[in-house]
């Protein structure tokens, strides 16, 4: 590769300045961020409302649950796994948690602390499904892809089953307590709570991945699991934890989504699997493990959310929405591939 491109590079020597700037942008970690800005700039003349403060706040508030669940996914991707069950955790936690707090089910109403009990239920669902995924992967040696594919199918079905069994209309849990709804909708000084929750999750995740022993272990496992095991890294335990964290993050995201929609619904997040994995990958997290940062996932989520918001503002028909979304993702991926090549050459 490098041998064939060398001559052209030399030929381009006089015109060095211009490619250099593009090259630096292309090679920077902030490529996706730059693309987001570019996208906004392109849409600005067509829909000026994309650049208003209200829209930006909207995007920020809306992307938080996705960000939280994508951060959980990042942990699993770093150890070269994948967690396809995240949407089903969103749904199952949503209905189980909501059933604690409403008249349908109402398991925790008598406890006097229904909201706390509800949140505990959310978290417990996430932790348990995550633990199950982790143990199957590490102890039974099953591929993460297929374990989480089956848990996705199972718990998506379970959420529907659970809802049908407990609610009158069989479709969802409504009438959630106002103080619970506030978690998803409330604001403090114009800043949504969900932003705070996501910021805490992001901060902790960033700290864990970049600064703790556990974080370093995850990267080591993703890069070379055998070398990690020989170096005393408790590989199975760490991988199990990665899945548990993914489950926990999905549960937290489920709290945010459920509060936001004021409804515990079994179809929550059923269509966002590709958004979850896609945003991490677009941000630069590798599917093959060993690399990826929380900030990259943040950029990926921001990118997808802004793309979606732009398409919503345009109010186009479904065909264009799909086509543009796909092309934009592809464009980001192609640029990323080019970037990798440039880095290799450098």
């Amino acid at each position: 590769m490098s041998t064939t491109t060398l001559p052209t590079e030399r030929a381009a020597e006089p015109a060095r300045r211009r490619p250099r700037i593009a090259e630096r942008l292309l090679m920077s970690e902030y490529l996706v961020l730059a693309l987001t800005v570019l996208y906004v700039l392109i849409l600005w003349p067509i829909v000026p409302s994309i650049a208003t403060r209200a829209t930006m706040l909207d995007v920020l508030a809306a992307m938080m649950p996705l960000l939280v669940v994508a951060i959980g996914q990042t942990f699993v991707l770093i150890v070269a796994g994948i967690d396809l069950s995240a949407p089903s955790i969103l749904a199952t936690a949503s209905v189980v948690g909501a059933s604690m707090m409403t008249d349908d089910g109402g398991f925790a109403l008598a406890s006097g602390i229904p909201i706390l009990a509800g949140i505990v239920a959310f978290v417990a669902v996430g932790l348990l499904i995550g633990l199950f995924n982790g143990l199957c992967t590490t102890r039974l040696g099953m591929p993460a892809f297929i374990v989480t594919l089956t848990t996705m199918m199972f718990f998506s079905g379970f959420a529907l089953f659970y809802t049908a069994a407990l609610t009158d209309d069989g479709s969802s849990f409504g009438d959630l307590p106002a103080s619970f709804v506030a978690i998803g909708q409330g604001t403090v000084a114009g800043v949504p709570y969900s932003l705070g929750v996501a910021a805490v999750v992001m901060g902790v995740a960033h700290l864990v991945l970049s600064r703790t022993v556990f974080g370093r272990w995850l990267y080591a496992i993703g890069r070379n699991p055998r070398a990690a095991a020989i170096s005393g890294v408790p590989v199975r335990r760490a991988v199990t934890w990665a899945f548990v964290i993914s489950g926990l993050c999905a549960a937290i995201a489920s709290v945010l989504y459920t509060g936001r929609l004021e409804t515990g619904t079994p179809v929550l997040g059923q269509r966002i699997l590709l958004d979850i994995v896609g945003s991490a990958v677009i941000g630069g997290v590798s599917l093959f493990g060993g690399t990826g940062k929380v900030t990259q996932t943040l950029y990926g989520v921001l990118f997808l959310s802004v793309v979606d918001k732009g398409l919503q503002l345009l109010g186009l028909d479904l065909a264009s929405v799909f086509a543009i979304k796909g092309l934009v993702i592809l464009l980001a991926a192609v640029l990323d591939a080019l970037r990798r090549r440039l880095i290799l050459r450098a």
Binding site: L207, R211, T212, R216, N224, I230
Partner: protein, 513 residues
């Protein structure tokens, strides 16, 4: 011998030169081949053997010089091109597909078809051809045996059969015996003898100089990219090869070692360790300050023993004490907690994270030591300092510890990174499995110095090596394994290369008797 010399050379290389990144690694290399000739190529790592062969096999282009084949210019465009011209290259790491059968591996580049215009494989023809090829290398397995079922030696024979199948006239062997059992080596040599009688020329690269001397008609010695000698077998001895290769006498290869005045307390005690089919009734002590060698042929169970000791493979019976602790369970984490360290023989697959920086690699085994608070936040300043200190002490040569990726380092520096990883962990028992494999003379010397220093500081070192030379140069005591058992023990005063080899060949000798 006379009949081969009578034939004219059909391949010649003249004045081959090659540079990497401005450093010339091959100077003016010249040699020629007759049909049926076996040419030995020896030299330390980095002396230019592989570069020469890679040029010949079409893997690398040459910077200057010329090669001729049958009198015509030969300038291969790639490995395929070289192969089609009759030059086959059997790499040290075999190029076989474990998920396919023997026959499929032989024909993977293009199967014979059932009929013109039909895409289907003529299975019958494949079977017949495979059987022919396999019988020409004396390999008695069914053509539809999956390669994953074959031993390493059998796989090597499959590679040779593949070369024959492509009508190779020159076959290059790169360190073919490193992973073969004694019997497999004998079989390989028989085959090579047969090939030469068919008029196929062989280039044989090996570190095992005795083999080279036994097998080759002519021997070319390389050092630092220069051809420093060429002579027919009759004029060559092992000693002469070595002095040509290293340019100095053997004493200088190993740093002076001062054996400990009095043996220290045992840091590792092994009693009655067995695992069916792997090792049997192993018992020995390793003392503080001691460098204990472990010798034996490939397949004798040396590496397997090391892996069991470090808890990577299971064992059925036996006790292991590390320091004053009787180990109840052996696992890497547990062994490390008691001060053990293990440098594996395969540094790419098991020692290093190739895509990570030197600093990340060096830190890997010791991370918990740098964790603070309940979150185990890493004390980055202290870790950075310690990594820098250790890296300096093992003399890793790299521009930036935090940025340089391990995959961009030379073999020697990579090995130093692995050693650095374990030194940071401050081991009291250090198991080194082939620590100098694939690294150059200078780096070897530095590794030896580190080993000596470790021992001087009171650690016990278990030094595993295939090279008896190296063991006698480095160790205070040598254990010899054969067929999964410890067969002999030699104190430094009684080191005798021949006796060690004899003990290692125990199984073979018994068979002969």
């Amino acid at each position: 011998m006379n009949d081969t010399e009578a034939q004219p050379a059909f391949f010649a290389a003249e004045g081959l030169c090659k540079s990497f990144f401005g450093v010339q690694v091959l100077h003016d290399m010249t040699f020629s081949l007759h049909p049926g000739q076996v040419l030995g190529l020896v030299g330390e790592n980095g002396s230019g053997k592989s570069t020469t062969m890679n040029i010949m096999g079409g893997v690398l282009p040459m910077d200057a010089g010329r090669m001729t084949l049958d009198g015509a210019d030969y300038r291969p465009r790639g490995p395929r091109d070289a192969e089609s011209r009759g030059i086959a290259f059997i790499h040290q790491e075999l190029n076989l597909f474990r998920n396919l059968t023997v026959a499929e591996n032989l024909f993977i580049a293009g199967f014979p078809k059932l009929a013109r215009g039909l895409p289907f494989i003529d299975r019958a023809k494949v079977r017949v051809r495979t059987q022919e090829l396999l019988s020409s290398v004396d390999l008695d397995v069914a053509p539809n045996t999956p390669v994953s079922r074959l031993s390493q030696g059998e796989r090597q024979l499959v590679e040779i059969a593949k070369a024959l199948g492509s009508n190779a006239r020159i076959i290059i062997f790169d360190e073919p015996t490193t992973s073969l059992t004694t019997r497999e080596i004998e079989r390989l040599f028989d085959i090579i003898g047969r090939l030469r009688r068919q008029g196929i020329a062989i280039i044989y690269i090996s570190h095992i100089l005795g083999d080279v001397l036994r097998l080759c008609d002519d021997i070319v010695v390389l050092r630092d990219g220069h051809r420093v000698g060429r002579a027919p077998r009759a004029e060559m001895t092992v000693e002469r090869m070595i002095s040509l290769m290293v340019g100095r006498t053997i004493d200088q290869i190993y740093p002076p070692r001062d054996p400990p005045m009095s043996p220290g307390a045992p840091v590792l005690e092994v009693r009655g360790l067995s695992q069916r089919g792997i090792v049997k009734n192993i018992g020995f002590d390793l003392r503080a300050g001691e460098v204990l060698g472990l010798s034996g042929l490939m397949g004798a169970g040396r590496s397997e023993l090391a892996r069991i000791l470090f808890g990577m493979d299971p064992h059925e019976t036996g006790q292991v004490r590390v320091g004053s602790t009787a180990m109840t369970t052996l696992s890497p984490a547990n062994c490390m907690a008691h001060g053990m360290a293990f440098l594996t023989e395969d540094r790419r697959a098991e020692g290093l994270m190739m895509e990570a920086s030197i600093a990340d690699n060096v830190a890997l085994a010791s991370l918990p030591q740098f964790g603070r608070t309940w979150m185990r936040l890493i004390d980055r300043t202290r870790l950075g300092d310690e990594v820098a200190r250790v890296s300096a002490s093992v003399q890793i040569k790299a521009p930036d510890l935090q940025r340089t990726l391990v995959k961009n380092l030379s073999g020697g520096n990579q090995q130093k990174a692995v050693i650095g990883k374990w030194l940071l962990h401050k081991p009291s028992v250090f198991i080194l499995d082939e620590p100098t494999r694939g690294i150059d003379v200078g780096a070897k010397y530095e590794v030896y110095k580190i080993v000596n220093r470790l021992a001087a500081e009171g650690a016990g070192v278990l030094f595993i090596s295939s090279e008896i030379e190296e063991l006698t140069g480095m160790c205070d005591r040598i254990l010899v394994m054969a067929h999964g058992e410890i067969r002999a023990e030699f104190a430094r005063a009684a080191f005798d290369r021949e006796a060690i080899l004899r003990a290692a060949m125990w199984h073979g000798i018994k068979e002969v008797a």
